[in-house]
């Protein structure tokens, strides 16, 4: 069994100190630019003001973060379940595959900022339209990578199982689905990043809480540091979700993890 302690340093090596160095340099340049009078601190708050807001408004940020986190997590879960079901159905039926693939692609061309207000009109100000938007933006990448996982199963392996008289249903559960699981993880990792953006659009279309709502409220009040703080929280949330998924993949599918392969595989 691979323990947390053996995996965590690997993650650190992957995302760690080099990233921190680049971030520190960018923040330093930004701070310097504002301090030297390049922009009005009210329009472009310097990093130290954003950090100050992160601390001062921590209660407000936290309560709104919980709202957005719930939308994102539930939305992703809906997307994973629906994507697995649809990908499996498309894998089994070429007819369904032909029918749904163009619709899937079309679903990604829908401009979310335009769709979100319409969904709010229809589904109200509650969590439902947020879930729909988050699931809609997350769904596609999971379906595509899961289908690729199914397609990558060696045809000779399927033939072999047939000479063992393995029933079709069992071939799916014992051979094809496990083979597709790394694809499910890859798609979900891509999805969490866009899911956070989707949640913000949905909140801006109509909500009374959440980080997107907080951001929208902060700008007219010229509380720009707080608006930036909300963005920071959102980004960190997405990164943490991505890292947790990477960790979960290595713990649950150690056989699929190749230390020398590319991090996305």
């Amino acid at each position: 069994m691979i323990s947390w302690f053996r995996v965590a340093p690997g993650l650190w090596a992957q995302f760690g100190w080099r990233t921190l160095l680049v971030v520190a340099m960018l923040l330093g340049a930004w701070e310097l630019y504002v301090d030297l009078g390049g922009a009005d601190p009210l329009i472009l708050p310097p990093p130290h003001a954003v950090a100050q807001s992160l601390y001062d408004d921590r209660g407000l940020l936290w309560s709104n973060f919980l709202v957005t986190a719930e939308e994102v997590l539930l939305g992703i879960m809906v997307a994973v379940v629906a994507a697995l079901a649809l990908a499996s159905a498309m894998h089994f039926s070429p007819t369904l595959r032909g029918a749904f693939y163009p619709i899937l692609i079309a679903s990604q061309t829908v401009p979310i900022p335009m769709l979100a207000p319409v969904l709010v009109l229809w589904l109200g100000f509650g969590i439902l339209p947020k879930l729909v938007v988050v699931a809609l933006v997350s769904f596609f990448s999971i379906v595509v990578t899961t289908l690729a996982g199914f397609a990558a199963v060696d045809p000779d392996l399927i033939k072999l199982m047939r000479t063992f008289d393995m029933p079709r249903r069992r071939v799916f559960w014992s051979v094809e689905l496990p083979s597709a699981l790394p694809g499910v993880f890859t798609g979900t990792k891509i999805a969490v990043i866009v899911a956070v953006i989707g949640a913000v659009f949905a909140e801006q279309a109509g909500a009374n809480s959440g980080l997107g709502y907080l951001f929208e409220q902060s700008i007219p009040q010229l509380l720009t540091a707080r608006a930036y703080a909300a963005v920071v929280v959102l980004s960190v949330f997405a990164i943490v979700l991505f890292a947790l998924l990477t960790l979960a993949e290595r713990l649950t599918l150690p056989w699929a993890y190749r230390p020398t392969g590319d991090p996305q595989a």
Binding site: P94, R97, G98, Y101, P102, F150, A151, V153, D154, P155, D156, L157, I158, K159, L160, M161, R162, T163, F164, D165, M166, P167, R168, R170, V171, S174, V175, P178, L253, W255, A256
Partner: protein, 263 residues
């Protein structure tokens, strides 16, 4: 959507009627031809091929690459149907050239897969497979995943998996071609030993002439595509056979001659 179906895995429905008439554990292939349509051209894989394997007999089929050897085995296993001729075989399990072990399963669970395929419970299947792993020199590796096993070990697990399918016929598709020469020689000796204690009707295809002569009771030589039988040789030498035995060397030369290799 162009090329949509190109990389899809299609699984044919199982044939409605049994693909083969069950015989007494043997294999009979009579005047079989098989043709494939491939990208506008037609490929004749097998032309008028006949062969027989009596129950318990080891028949090795040797021929150049692309002479339809794999097609022949898939016909015997009922995975394909002949365009002409008949294939009569007792139920056959395939053992592929690549080990095709499932990377997420341990050695014992991989070996037990054919048992699980027939609906045996997980624990029963493990208990059944475990002593076999020991017999196959895999003691201590029961819980190892394929990535942690050597090539020879993986082939042994793969062979065990096919053996435990419990079918009277084994169709072995160049089982040792992917191994290094030393391991291959070792595995050939090992296979001869296992089949002596665990008799099955075996059809083994290979492009390794020595392997064909060392392992077979009978050697069938196929021509390049379209594959036809150009020679059939009985090997009556006692087992275990020595590669340096002059009679075996002479047989090897005859097979090479039949393949058109002259030294």
């Amino acid at each position: 959507m162009p090329a949509e179906g190109a990389n899809r895995v299609t699984i044919e429905a199982p044939p409605q009627e049994p693909a083969q008439r069950h015989d007494t554990g043997g294999v009979r292939v009579e005047r079989v031809s098989r043709t494939f349509a491939a990208k506008g051209s037609v490929v004749h894989a097998l032309a008028d091929v006949s062969l027989r394997a009596a129950p318990g007999e080891i028949v090795t089929v040797v021929g150049p690459s692309g002479c339809g050897k794999t097609t022949l085995l898939e016909l015997i296993c009922g995975l394909q149907r002949p365009d002409a001729g008949t294939v009569t075989s007792a139920p056959a399990a395939l053992m592929p050239q690549r080990d095709l072990l499932l990377p997420w399963l341990t050695a014992v669970d991989n070996a037990a897969l054919a048992l699980r395929a027939r609906g045996m419970g997980r624990d029963d299947a493990r208990v059944t497979a475990a002593p076999w792993l020991e017999r196959f020199g895999l003691a201590g590796f029961e819980q190892a995943r394929p990535a942690a096993l050597s090539g020879g070990m993986r082939q042994r697990v793969s062979f065990l998996r096919s053996l435990l399918a419990g079918k009277p016929v084994l169709a072995l598709d160049e089982p040792f071609a992917a191994l290094d020469a030393l391991t291959r020689a070792e595995m050939q000796g090992w296979l001869g030993h296992v089949l002596a204690t665990e008799p099955r009707t075996v059809v083994l295809v290979t492009h390794d002439v020595e392997e064909a002569v060392v392992l077979g009771d009978r050697v069938i030589v196929l021509s390049p595509r379209p594959g036809r039988v150009v020679r059939e040789l009985e090997v009556t030498l006692a087992r275990p056979r020595k590669r340096t035995d002059p009679e075996l060397v002479a047989l090897r030369e005859r097979v090479l001659q039949a393949l058109g290799v002259t030294e």
